[in-house]
C-alpha cells in the first residue's frame, strides 16, 4: 500500500487539530491535498526518498470533525501555514493538488518568505469553466475522471458519506472558476512554479494551462502523458522525476543534466 512508511502526527493550529503524515528527510515538501481528501500515492513514497514529505489533512477532511468555521481557501491557507510553523519547519517547498492548489497559492501569497518553490498538480485554482467534479459523480465515473486506466487501480472507493462530506466542503470553499482578486495577487509571487497537467485529465484539463502562465510570473507547464486527474497515481515515477529535478534546480531544470554518453 502506498504511504505505509509514513508516520501519523497531529498539530494544533487555528483552533483545529490537524492530522499529517510524514516520511523522509531533506528539504521539507509540504503537500496540500485535493478535494478528495488526503490520499497518499506511490509518488509520495518516491518523493519521500529525497525530501521530507509532510502531507497535511485539512480541517473538515477525512475523519476530522465537520469544518463549518473556514469560510474560504484563504482561511484554510492561514491554518496550514500555522500548522507548518508549529512543527518548527523553516523554509519549505509547497505542493498543492487540485483544490489544494488554491490553498497552496494563498499560503505563498500570505507568507511568501518560507516558501522556496511551488508545485501545482492538476490545479483547480484557476479554471476556464466549471468541469466535472469526481466527488459529485458515481464511483465508476469518479474512477474514470481520476485515472487514465481505471482498471489498473484496484482498491475500494471511499465511503459515500465521506465523499459527500468532502464535496460539500470543497464546493463551499473553492470559489468560482475565475477569481480576479485572487489571480491579481498571484502576480506578486516571486517563486518558481511548476504546474503539472495530465494529458487525459477532464477535471482540470491541460487546455487551461495558459491561465497559470498569465497569472504567475515564473510558471513552468509540464504535461504528464497518459495521466488523468490523479497524476501521482497514474504516472508516479514520471511525476517524482520531474518534481525532484525542479525542486533541486528550479528554472534551470529545463537544461538536461544527465549524460547522453552511451559508452566510453
Amino acid at each position: 500500500m502506498p504511504g505505509e512508511h509514513f508516520r501519523e502526527g497531529f498539530v494544533d493550529a487555528d483552533g483545529f487539530r490537524v492530522r499529517y503524515l510524514e516520511a523522509g528527510s531533506g528539504t521539507p515538501l509540504v503537500c496540500i491535498h485535493g478535494g478528495g481528501g488526503l490520499r497518499l500515492s506511490a509518488a509520495h513514497d518516491l518523493l519521500s526518498a529525497k525530501h521530507r514529505v509532510i502531507a497535511f489533512e485539512m480541517p473538515g477532511f477525512g475523519a476530522s470533525p465537520e469544518n463549518t468555521r473556514s469560510q474560504s481557501t484563504e482561511d484554510l491557507a492561514r491554518c496550514m501555514s500555522e500548522a507548518i510553523s508549529k512543527l518548527g519547519v523553516g523554509r519549505y517547498n509547497l505542493m498543492g493538488t487540485s483544490f489544494g492548489s488554491k490553498v497552496a497559492l494563498w499560503m505563498a501569497v500570505q507568507q511568501p518568505d518560507p516558501v522556496e518553490a511551488i508545485v501545482l498538480m492538476s490545479p483547480a485554482a484557476i479554471r476556464e469553466r466549471e468541469g466535472p467534479v469526481p466527488t459529485r459523480v458515481s464511483p465508476q465515473e469518479a474512477a474514470k475522471l481520476m485515472y487514465a486506466h481505471p482498471e489498473r487501480h484496484r482498491g475500494s472507493p471511499p465511503p459515500p458519506a465521506l465523499v459527500a462530506k468532502h464535496a460539500a466542503l470543497t464546493s463551499r470553499l473553492l470559489g468560482p472558476p475565475r477569481d480576479p482578486p485572487f489571480e491579481a495577487k498571484l502576480a506578486q509571487l516571486k517563486q518558481e512554479v511548476l504546474v503539472l497537467f495530465g494529458t487525459e485529465d477532464k477535471v482540470t484539463p491541460a487546455e487551461g494551462a495558459y491561465l497559470f502562465r498569465e497569472a504567475l510570473a515564473n510558471c513552468h507547464i509540464m504535461l504528464v502523458y497518459d495521466a488523468a486527474h490523479a497524476i501521482d497515481a497514474d504516472r508516479p515515477e514520471a511525476l517524482e522525476a520531474v518534481v525532484t529535478d525542479f525542486l533541486i534546480r528550479k528554472e534551470q531544470f529545463i537544461v538536461r543534466d544527465q549524460s547522453d554518453l552511451i559508452h566510453n
Binding site: T199, A209, Y210, I221, L223, Y225, D226, I254
Partner: protein, 362 residues
C-alpha cells in the same frame, strides 16, 4: 472521389531491388539527380492536371525510395506546385523526434500556403532498424508521438512533456501551421489496433499496398469503431493506395507494368529484420493479415486483388469503381508504378485527363 498521385522517389538506375539495406556502391549520383528531377516533374504535371493531392512518403536505406525525409521532399514539391494538397504520407513518427516532425510539417504547411495533409505513420518493421529503435514498442511510441505532435501545434504556451518514450522540458514551436487547430491527420490502419486508434482519435485512415478484401475488412472495422464512439467517417477519411500504370490501350499498359519485377516488401528483404521484428511483437494481433498483404504475387493476381490498377482509362475506371464500392474509400493514392520516361508522363496525363473527371463523380 479524389485522386492523389504518389511518387515514391524511386531510384531510376540499375540497382538490386531485393536487398535491405542496400550497399551504397550501386548509387550513381547522376541517376540520383535525374530521379529527383523526375519526381518534381511528375508532381508539377499532376498539379497542372488538377490532381487533388500529391503524396510523398518516408523510406530508408533502399533504392525503392530516395526519400528518407518526406518533409524535405514536400518542401520542394510546395515550390513547384500551386494548388494540389501536399500529402505527407508520411513521416514514420515512432523513429523520429516528434517535436522536429511538428516543426517540419508546420514549415511545409507554411511553404505551401496551407496545403499540407499530415499522414503520421508507424512504418514497416525495417524502418525501426534505421535509427535503432525497438519495433516491439512501435504502437506505444506511435500513440504518444501523435499526441505530442498535435499538442505542439495546438498549445500556445511553452510546455514540457513527461512521457513514457519522450521527455522534453520546454517546447514552443515556431512556425505554427497555417491550418488550425491542425492540418488534416491520417494514419495507416491496416491492422485492427490502428483502426480502433484512428476511430477513437477521430482521424482519417489510409490503406497502403493492401488488397481490396483486406482493406474492405479494415475499413468496416474502422467505421464500426467510429460508430461506437459516436461519429461517422466521410469517404474522404479513407485513402486507398494502389500501384498504377495507364496507357492508351490495355495491351500497352500491361506491357509497361510487366517491366516491374515482383515486389518484395522491404521488411521481407532481410531475414534478420523479419524474424527479429516478429519476435519483438511488432506485428501485433494480426500477424497473418499484415504478412499476407506483403506476399509475393504475380501481376494478374495483384490486379485481381486491387493492389495494382493497370490498363486503359476505361479499364482503370472499373477497378477504381470497385475500390469505391467495396472499400468505401474517398481518395485513391495512385502510386507511379514504373518509371518509363515519356510513357510514365503519359500515364499521369491519362489519369489526370481521362480518369480524374469521371472518378470525381463516383
Amino acid at each position: 472521389m479524389k485522386a492523389s498521385l504518389f511518387c515514391n522517389s524511386q531510384y531510376i538506375g540499375a540497382a538490386p531491388n531485393d536487398v535491405w539495406p542496400l550497399s551504397g556502391k550501386y548509387f550513381d549520383a547522376d541517376a540520383g539527380v535525374h530521379s529527383m528531377r523526375t519526381v518534381l516533374d511528375q508532381f508539377k504535371l499532376a498539379d497542372e492536371l488538377g490532381f487533388d493531392w500529391l503524396a510523398v512518403a518516408e523510406h530508408h536505406y533502399s533504392p525503392f525510395s530516395l526519400c528518407p525525409n518526406p518533409m524535405l521532399m514536400a518542401a520542394a514539391v510546395s515550390q513547384v506546385t500551386s494548388r494540389a494538397k501536399i500529402a505527407v504520407l508520411g513521416p514514420t513518427i515512432p523513429i523520429l523526434n516528434p517535436v522536429r516532425v511538428a516543426e517540419e510539417l508546420a514549415m511545409v504547411d507554411l511553404l505551401s500556403g496551407g496545403r499540407l495533409i499530415a499522414g503520421l505513420m508507424r512504418g514497416t518493421a525495417n524502418e525501426y532498424v534505421t535509427y535503432n529503435h525497438n519495433p516491439g514498442e512501435s504502437r506505444e511510441r506511435f500513440a504518444e508521438s501523435l499526441k505530442l505532435i498535435k499538442r505542439c501545434w495546438s498549445e500556445n504556451e511553452p510546455f514540457g512533456w513527461a512521457g513514457r518514450y519522450y521527455d522534453y522540458r520546454t517546447i514552443s514551436i515556431w512556425p505554427r501551421p497555417v491550418q488550425r487547430p491542425s492540418p488534416p491527420i491520417y494514419i495507416s490502419a491496416s491492422s485492427p489496433e490502428s483502426g480502433e486508434f484512428a476511430a477513437q482519435n477521430e482521424i482519417g485512415v489510409g490503406f497502403a499496398f493492401t488488397t481490396i478484401p483486406h482493406a474492405k475488412k479494415a475499413a468496416e472495422h474502422y467505421r464500426s469503431c467510429a460508430k461506437a464512439v459516436g461519429w461517422e467517417p466521410s469517404p474522404d477519411k479513407i485513402i486507398y493506395r494502389a500501384l498504377y500504370h495507364l496507357a492508351d490501350t490495355d495491351e500497352e499498359a500491361f506491357a509497361g507494368m510487366a517491366t516491374l519485377p515482383p515486389r518484395i516488401a522491404l521488411a521481407n528483404q532481410n531475414r534478420g529484420v523479419f524474424e527479429g521484428a516478429r519476435k519483438s511483437g511488432y506485428f501485433g494481433a494480426d500477424f497473418a493479415g499484415q504478412t499476407t498483404r506483403n506476399a509475393k504475387r504475380d501481376l494478374s493476381e495483384r490486379i485481381e486483388l486491387g493492389q495494382v490498377i493497370v490498363g486503359s482509362p476505361e479499364t482503370a475506371l472499373k477497378q477504381i469503381r470497385r475500390i469505391r464500392d467495396e472499400v468505401g474509400a474517398g481518395v485513391i493514392d495512385f502510386v507511379v508504378g514504373v518509371q518509363l520516361g515519356g510513357k510514365t508522363m503519359h500515364s499521369i496525363e491519362l489519369l489526370g485527363a481521362k480518369v480524374l473527371p469521371v472518378m470525381r463523380e463516383f
